[in-house]
């Protein structure tokens, strides 16, 4: 009975997508733009997806983008978590770094692009740095908030049990702050792809964003749509991947902490 209900729920999630694709296909074939390049049907996009994959163009550009996101997101998150822990744990760090973080946090990641183009130049470091900035600030904020919000009584209990300050930090405070840290990571995992696309469109010769711009100049709407679908899927995969990691790491207890 329960299994049946779950299947029904999962089917009801897919149904709107199926309807959307069907409408897209119908409009592409029968609508006012039928047969024109500006609105290809879904099937034409899939065919182009196959071609781009087969000739290696999509794979090559995708790999460039993926590498940039992984490096940028990983380094930004690690640095963000480290600074966030420091700020949440020690008041002096919070007082020293808090105002700077507050000042820089509201600047949209892409706002840094012109400056970084001048400072770094147009090379691999540019999108990586943009993604680093994009993930660093929100992760710092969420981590510091998570660390500060850990119930003081757990810290007190750990201290009484003889734990050193570092042991309290890494065995009690950080694990208890994980739900907050993951919230920041999940948000930024998707956001990093969006920011990357924009950076590549403006300043990079390779990557999904660059492919998108080339397709635009050639009026290849099917390729543009392939790139957007890849982007959408990658945002989803990263967010869901982190959600899965979160469930694995904190799911057993986090709702009851």
């Amino acid at each position: 009975m329960r299994e049946g209900t779950e299947r029904l729920q999962s089917a009801s999630g897919i149904l709107p997508i199926v309807v959307f694709v069907a409408v897209w296909e119908a409009v592409g074939r029968l609508g006012p733009f039928a047969g024109q390049l500006v609105f290809p049907p879904f099937s034409a996009v899939i065919v182009e997806f196959y071609h781009l994959t087969a000739n290696g163009v999509l794979g090559e550009n995708f790999l460039s983008s993926l590498t940039r996101v992984l490096i940028g997101l990983f380094s930004g998150s690690v640095a963000g978590i480290a600074v966030g822990i420091l700020m949440g744990w020690r008041d002096v760090a919070n007082k020293a770094l808090g105002p700077i973080i507050s000042l820089l946090f509201p600047i949209p990641a892409l706002g840094w692009l012109p400056l970084l183009m001048l400072w770094i130049g147009i090379n691999e470091m540019l999108p990586i740095t943009i993604i680093f900035i994009c993930s660093f600030f929100p992760v710092v904020y969420n981590t510091a908030t998570g660390i500060r919000n850990v119930d003081r009584t757990y810290i007190r209990a750990a201290e009484i049990l003889g734990a050193s300050p570092l042991r309290v930090l890494f065995r009690i405070i950080v694990p208890l702050a994980l739900p907050n840290i993951f919230t920041g990571l999940r948000l930024e995992a998707g956001m990093s792809w969006r920011v990357l696309l924009a950076a590549e469109m403006v300043a990079m010769p390779t990557g999904i964003g660059a492919l998108l711009m080339k397709a635009e100049s050639l009026v290849r709407v099917d390729i543009i749509l392939v790139c957007l679908i890849v982007l959408s899927i990658m945002c989803l995969v990263f967010e869901k991947g982190l959600a899965l990691a979160e469930r694995r790491m904190v799911g057993k207890w986090s709702n009851h902490a």
Partner: protein
């Protein structure tokens, strides 16, 4: 086991507290909510700043952090780490000492067996009942083998049966481990069962520190007497054994039968709640039943105190306002008095 001395300790409501907790004794601090009981435990554990001095075995530990004081502390909220299993919670303090993994595992197993929670080893705190949580928290606080154990309301928020069961186990454990223990409760009966000495606290001050018997038979002043429920203290002029384990004591016009297995008694204490009044004579044996006269009626909100004279002896009784209204008794009226036999406290001659 260590002796703990508090010298002129002040924190929050607590003002200039001087207290010595003797080597290996169980000192129970009782008092109403907000009296400062938990504050005193926090001061001993070193988890709060304070004025004054704390000495453990005559060594000033004011500057020692909690982990250096050798204290096990069962916090009122328990604070079991929600992200750690029962076994990991218990292991936490032993690991912090730097023991090897094998020693940690052995110690955890010993404590789980002692507290009979081995079957809970892999569970997380949210999967446990209230009683199980208390056992785990107690095992965790005992795990690093502390010399001093601080217990803050260890049986609170449990149902009566579980609370009673846990209390008897706790007493057995405390005697076995022979640690110096400071135990906080607001339940006087619990204090009486567990304590070597009881400290009565009120508004941040220690009103009296004495053995349970001295507290009941010799309260220092009216406020302590009020806190312990204004027991009726009856001087015994004669006592005789009716049967093995049962004696009859005489005091003025009263002859009270109680379970007692010694030679003779000098005083008995009867709690006002343990004396029942009735406008009509209840059926049953005449044991500990008397006829008296209502001398005074004192309304105290939800309870009513009634002074009843039985010959020359005056007893204070207490009942709920509802029970009083149901009985409809008035000053000067004759009433029937029943003294509950099993709840009597006594002093031997």
């Amino acid at each position: 086991m260590p002796e703990i001395k508090l010298v002129k300790v002040s924190k929050h409501i607590c003002r200039d507290i001087d207290l010595t907790i003797r080597d290996g004794e169980i000192l129970v601090i009782v008092g109403t909510t907000g009296a400062g009981k938990t504050t005193l435990l926090n001061v001993i554990a070193g988890v709060t700043d304070y004025r004054g001095k704390v000495l453990i075995d005559d060594v000033d530990v004011n500057k020692a952090p909690p982990r250096k004081r050798g204290v096990g502390y069962l916090l009122q909220g328990l604070s079991l780490f929600p992200h750690l299993t029962v076994a990991s919670n218990i292991a936490f303090g032993v690991e912090a000492k730097g023991d090897s993994k094998i020693d940690v595992a052995k110690r955890v197993l010993t404590l789980m067996e002692m507290m009979r929670i081995t079957h809970l080893a892999g569970r997380y705190p949210h999967m446990l009942s209230g009683g199980e949580k208390k056992r785990v928290a107690l095992a965790r606080s005992l795990a690093p083998s502390p010399n001093i154990l601080l217990l803050d309301e260890p049986t609170s928020s449990l149902d009566r049966q579980t609370s009673k069961y846990l209390r008897s186990e706790l007493l057995f454990l405390l005697r076995k481990l022979a640690v110096t223990c400071v135990y906080v409760t607001h339940d006087l009966r619990e204090a009486e069962e567990i304590a070597d000495r009881i400290a009565v606290m009120s508004k941040g001050k220690l009103e009296q520190v004495s053995t349970p018997r001295d507290l009941f038979f010799d309260p220092r002043d009216r406020s302590v007497a009020e806190f312990i429920g204004m027991p009726n203290i009856i001087e015994c002029t004669r006592s005789r054994m009716l049967a093995p384990g049962v004696v009859e004591v005489e005091s003025g016009d009263l002859r009270i039968v109680l379970p007692y297995d010694g030679n003779s008694l000098s005083k008995i204490a009867i709690h006002p709640n343990d004396i029942y009044l009735s406008a009509v004579r209840d059926p049953g044996p005449a044991l500990n039943r008397f006829t008296g006269k209502v001398e005074e009626i004192i309304h105290q909100g939800v309870t009513v105190r009634v002074r009843v004279s039985i010959g020359k002896t005056v007893l204070l009784t207490e009942m709920s306002e509802d029970a009083f209204e149901e009985m409809a008794i008035a000053q000067g009226q004759e009433v029937h008095v029943v003294i509950k036999m099993r709840r009597l406290r006594y002093v031997e001659a």
